[in-house]
Symmetry: C2
Subunit: 416 residues, 2 copies
C-alpha cells in the first residue's frame, strides 16, 4: 500500500500544476491512472459479462492466423499498427469526450475505438484491441498521464534502484488490468468472428525505458545508466515485467485474443551486446512461457508476433526467428528481399514506411507491389514498419489495404 501512496502524492501535485498552468492536460485524468486505495484500477468501469471462449462463433477470416504460422492463404492478410487512433476522425471525436487512459479503461469506449478501423475498412484482416503498453507500469503502482502534444508522462519515474521497492512487483492482474480483459472480451464479442482479435503488450526493456525516463527519450540515457551501473536491479525489474507480461498476455487469450504481439519499440537503441543481455532473453522467455502456459491451461495456443524495432543487425532477425515467436515484425529500414532471404520460411510482418502513406494512392500501390515482390505473398502479414501517424489520411490507409489485398490475390492467381 505504501507504494501506491508514494506515487500518489507527488503525482497529484504535478497534475494539478499542469491543469492550472497550461490548461492542456487531459480530461478526467486524476485518480484513475494508478491503483486506488483497494489496489484496483478502473473499478468503477461498466464491467463486462465475459463470454467464455467456447461460446464465440467460428472465425470467418483466419488469414492472419494462417499466415502467422506459415499456412497458405489465398491472399496476404493486412492490418496496420496503431490502426485505431488519431488519424481517424471518428477516433478524434470520441477522444474529445475522454482522457486517453479513461478510453482504455472504459470497456465500451475502448471496444468502440478498437472496432472503428474495421467499420471503416471492412476488408481489414484483423482488429487490435485498443490499449496502451504503459498500463503495466500503472498496474505496478506508477502513475502515467497522457499530456497533449507530448505523449505519456510519468510524474515520478524510477530514479534509483531503491525505487523498485515502491513498485508492486506482482500486481493482481484482475484487479489492476481486469478492464483490459473486459475490453478484449467485449471486442471479441462485437467482432463476432469476422476477423481475429489481436492482443498486445510492450516488451520488458521498452517498458523499463519509459518507467525510468518518465516518457519518450531520444537517448535512453537514464535507462542505460541502470543497465550499466545497476545490472542486477535492471534484471530484477526486467524479470518482474516479464512475469507480468506472461500472465497478462495469457489472460488476454483467456479473454478472447487470437494472436499476441509483443512490442520492443526501444530495442534498436541498444547495441548488440546490451540487446542480447537485456532485451532478447526476455523476449524469448515470454514467447516460450506464454505458449507453455496456454497449453497448461488448455487455452488456444495462439500465434505470437514480435516487433523489435530497429533490431535488424546481423543475426538478430535469425535469432528472433529461433524463439517461440511465430512471426517477426519488421520496421522499414530493411529491404524486403534481404529480409526474406534472411528469414526464409519464417513468417514476416511489415514493413512499409508509414510515411509512404503520405504519397498518392497510386504510388502507395506501387510501393506495396514492391513489398509483396520482396516478401512474397505467403508466410507474410502485410503491415507498416511502425504505427500510423496522426496526420495520415484514412483514404490512404484504405489504398494500402486494397493494394495488399488486390495485388497479393493477383500474384497468387498468376502462380496457379
Amino acid at each position: 500500500m505504501e507504494a501506491l501512496l508514494f506515487f500518489a502524492g507527488a503525482g497529484a501535485a504535478l497534475i494539478l500544476t499542469s491543469n492550472h498552468e497550461t490548461g492542456k492536460s487531459d480530461k478526467k485524468t486524476y485518480g484513475e491512472n494508478r491503483p486506488d486505495a483497494h489496489g484496483n484500477i478502473a473499478a468503477n468501469r461498466k464491467k463486462v459479462q465475459r463470454v467464455p471462449l467456447k461460446e464465440f462463433p467460428p472465425l470467418l477470416n483466419d488469414r492472419l492466423l494462417k499466415a502467422a504460422v506459415g499456412e497458405p492463404t489465398d491472399r496476404t492478410p493486412v492490418w496496420m499498427m496503431r490502426q485505431a487512433g488519431r488519424y481517424l476522425p471518428e477516433f478524434r471525436e470520441l477522444r474529445k469526450k475522454a482522457d486517453f487512459f479513461n478510453m482504455c479503461q472504459e470497456p465500451e469506449l475502448a471496444c468502440q475505438v478498437s472496432l472503428q478501423p474495421l467499420e471503416r475498412f471492412p476488408t481489414l484482416d484483423a482488429v487490435i484491441v485498443f490499449s496502451d503498453i504503459l498500463v503495466i507500469p500503472q498496474a505496478m503502482g506508477m502513475e502515467v498521464i497522457m499530456v497533449a502534444g507530448k505523449g505519456p508522462v510519468f510524474p515520478n519515474p524510477l530514479k534509483l534502484p531503491t525505487d523498485l521497492e515502491k513498485l508492486v512487483m506482482k500486481p493482481e492482474l484482475e484487479k489492476t488490468l481486469g478492464y483490459v480483459f473486459d475490453v478484449v472480451n467485449l471486442v471479441r464479442q462485437k467482432v463476432n468472428g469476422r476477423v481475429p482479435v489481436i492482443g498486445f503488450s510492450g516488451a520488458p526493456f521498452t517498458l523499463m525505458g519509459y518507467m525510468i525516463e518518465g516518457g519518450g527519450s531520444k537517448t535512453l540515457s537514464n535507462a542505460k545508466r541502470w543497465l550499466l551501473n545497476h545490472p542486477v536491479e535492471s534484471h530484477r525489474l526486467l524479470q518482474a515485467l516479464t512475469d507480468i507480461i506472461v500472465e497478462y498476455t495469457v489472460r488476454k487469450v483467456e479473454a478472447g485474443a487470437q494472436l499476441l504481439q509483443i512490442f520492443e519499440s526501444n530495442g534498436g537503441d541498444l547495441g548488440p551486446e546490451q540487446y542480447y543481455e537485456f532485451s532478447y532473453p526476455y523476449l524469448a522467455q515470454i514467447a516460450r512461457r506464454v505458449k507453455e502456459e496456454l497449453k497448461k491451461k488448455k487455452l488456444p495456443v495462439v500465434p505470437m508476433t514480435v516487433f523489435a524495432r530497429g533490431v535488424n543487425f546481423e543475426g538478430a532477425l535469425e535469432k528472433l526467428a529461433a524463439t517461440e515467436f511465430d512471426a517477426v515484425s519488421l520496421d522499414w529500414c530493411i529491404d524486403p528481399t534481404v529480409a526474406r532471404n534472411r528469414l526464409k520460411n519464417t513468417s514476416i510482418q511489415g514493413n512499409l514506411d508509414p510515411c509512404t502513406l503520405y504519397a498518392s494512392p497510386g504510388r502507395i500501390r506501387q510501393e506495396v507491389g514492391k513489398m509483396l515482390n520482396g516478401f512474397g505473398t505467403q508466410n507474410y502479414i502485410a503491415n507498416l514498419g511502425h504505427g500510423m501517424h496522426p496526420d495520415h489520411d484514412p483514404e490512404h490507409a484504405h489504398a494500402f489495404i486494397k493494394a495488399v489485398q488486390e495485388l497479393s490475390l493477383e500474384m497468387n492467381q498468376n502462380k496457379k
Copy 2:
C-alpha cells in the same frame, strides 16, 4: 534580396514572442542568424588575419590522418564527436555570455571552444572546429535560432516546393560563411601543429530534413512527403546543398582543416531504397568532387570520413567504403567484429555507445577493450557512436581517451 526579407519578417515576430513569453530564448540572437541587407553573415565579427597553409608548422601528431587512410600507427587515435560542448563546465561558462550561433560566428570564441577539449585532455588526437551543421541553411537565407531545451528551430521551414524560390541556392560563401573559415584558420593557428584540425559539414539529406521539419523530428514526415511527392524539387534542393557543401568543405581545407567529416545524421530514417536515391549518391558525389577540387586547387587532399548514422543495413557500409571517403564512422548499433569483417581494410571510426560514458572508468576501459579487440588497432579511429551528451562527466571522457590510448599501445606492443 526578397528571399532574405521573406524569411526575416515572420522570424522576427517569432523571436520576439519567444523572448517575451518564455524568457528562455537565447541571448543576442536577433538579426545575426541570417544574411544582413548586404548578404553578409557575421560581418561585424572580429575578422581573422588568415595564415596561409604553407606557413603552418609541421604536424606533431598525425595518427588520426594515418589511421584514416590506412597507414600504420603506434596506437589508435581517438577523439569524440561533440567533444567541444555542454558536458564541459568551461564551455557552459562561455555559453552564458553568448548565443549559440554567436559563439559560432565570433572566431575567437569559437576557437576557444574548439580548443577546450585539447586543453583539458592534452593527449586527444584531434581538434574539431566548433560550429553547427545548420550554418549552411542560414547562408541560404533561412533563419535558425537555438531554443533552450529544444534545440535548433527554423521559424519558417520550407513548406512547399515553391519555397525553394526564396532560398539563395548559390550563396557567396565568403560573405555568408567566411566566419567559419576564420574560425578554422584561427584554430589551426592556435593548435599550432599539436594535432590535426577536423572540419565538418552536415550531409544534404540531413540538412534538407531540418530545413523542412523546422527542427529535430522523430518521423521526418514532412521531409519524406517531399521525397515522395516532390522528388524533382527534392533532388534540386539536395543538389544545391551538395554544391554548397563541396565548396564549403574545400574552403575549410583552404583555411586549415586537415580532415573532413560529413554527418548524415538522419540517414537511418530512410529505408534502403530512399537512402540510395536521396542520400547515398550525394554523399558519394561530395567525396569525389571535394577530392577533385582539392587536387585542382593544389590543396592538400585531406582524408574524409562519413558518418551515416543508422545506415548499417546489408551492403550499406560496403557501398560507403566504395566511395572516395577514406573512413566510415559507425554508430553503436553494430558489433565491432561484424563491422570489421564487413569492411576488411577500410578505415573505421567509432563506435562506443555514448551512454557507456555513464559507467565507471573501469567499466569504460573494459568496453573500450572489447571495441579494440573487435576493430583491431589499425585502420581504426576510436570514437563514440554518436556525440557526447550534455550530462556526461568530463572525467569519464578522459577515461575513454586514456583507455583507447593505453590499451591500443599495449595491444600493438604485444604483437611485436
